[in-house]
Symmetry: C2
Subunit: 266 residues, 2 copies
Amino acid sequence: MLQKTVPTNMRNKKVVDLHAAKVACKECSLHQLCLPRSINGSDLEKLDSIIERKKPLKRNEHLFQVGSSFNSIYVVRSGSLKTYSPTVDGQEQVTGFHLPGELLGLDAIGKGRHPCAAKALETTSVCEVPFEHLEGLSQELPTLQHQLLRLMSKEIFDDQELMLLLGKKTAEARLSAFLLSISLRFKQRGFSSVEFYLSMSRNDIANYLGLAVETVSRMFTRFQEDGLIEAERKHIIIKNRENMRQIAGMNECCDETSARDSQQSI
Amino acid sequence: MLQKTVPTNMRNKKVVDLHAAKVACKECSLHQLCLPRSINGSDLEKLDSIIERKKPLKRNEHLFQVGSSFNSIYVVRSGSLKTYSPTVDGQEQVTGFHLPGELLGLDAIGKGRHPCAAKALETTSVCEVPFEHLEGLSQELPTLQHQLLRLMSKEIFDDQELMLLLGKKTAEARLSAFLLSISLRFKQRGFSSVEFYLSMSRNDIANYLGLAVETVSRMFTRFQEDGLIEAERKHIIIKNRENMRQIAGMNECCDETSARDSQQSI
DNA sequence: GTATAAAATTGACATTTATCAATTATGGCT
DNA sequence: AGCCATAATTGATAAATGTCAATTTTATAC
């Protein structure tokens, strides 16, 4: 049941609004969790039976709030969300954006409470995976346990990359890396990596990258002047990926690595 | 076997150089992994049998290098290490410091290669836990699987806290939060949270916090002028924890939460 | 114990990015 | 379709932190 029917035109690489996109199961991060070759049909049904589908969230609705008790992890099916934590001074820190096929809630296992909130950036639907059931099933199915550990490890790895960005990079390097990251993730989901729509505001981007909105806005302007991108609001076209890589301080290998990894698991 | 004999004077809260400290097993992050109440004697032996003790590392020796293949996770027994990733421009980004009882290598599970290197900051000994065996044993022992997931979740959570620090906080807030974090971790291991020795250089601290060495040095000076700490090189005494909390932008609850969590698991 | 290298500190200055303020554009709603 | 709140852009200025350079202190090696 997870492998939602996907219109054929969605499978082709084309500009697509996440709002309308259903992720192909083959691209879904749960692919290895729910459809690994090593799991046979009846085991698959077991997994399928523990997954609950929630009714779609509207824009700005919360999937979970800060401090709410942790019961399930979630997988984005369509749309997108941001996760954010409150800071003492009443602000918020955006900790991540979540596209179809990506998991939410892994940071809550330890304490049993969600340290961040998750809010839909657009109309969004998710699969809910009750954690107790997932743990139980992982106990039976070694490949499922393995995949779960891998996905959590990937999360740790990705967070460390972001730490590097926040700690060491200039504003233009941060924005460039951000756009390339989004581009790659679209590509991995079978959509165009050259032309896409951002579902988050400039404010959210700035917050995520540890910059002021104004700085992000200026960087968008500069990138256009320099012919790196075309941007009209949320509609982005990557014009010169190679230069953007250099600005982001990425060597080609980074991109390759990520791409390779994604084929393996996510 | 993991519960290494600890001199009684080490169990008391006193100033201690990590160099000489062996973590008490009760404080060890592997406590729940290797000695959970729900695991009986024979199961415990199974776990014990898969753990290998490595000969101590000397200062500046590597536990693993960037890109080396991932086979085991490691737990610090005594001493301390830093983990760091190379950046394109030949610099490095310090991604973490690891005190006795803390795990290393969780970020490598996903790709099967270590994305960062681990280097001893002083004479350091570690337990090596072959990952395949750990996975296999987790398959048998639900509590072990659960604990492993919890520890990975905690790592994700901690990384997100650091992201917040790097993205939103001033230099003084970063250093203050850093010192409080170290202080708390000493406390959790049964050592003084007021007076301790840092095993890392100012350079490493600056790198970790995304600051210039000079800035860190100036902040140390300012903290002393303001009576927040006494610092002579690596020897630190916390004089005014409450003010430091405020500067770090932490509400009291943060500290509590961390402390509570640590009792539960780490 | 002395020489040498490495680490830490301090000051002067440059640069980046944040902040404040004003304007324009956009999207949601009736 | 038009109004209003929100989001985005742009400019001017200020503040924080980085960079460069010099000095002092500490650690390491012979």
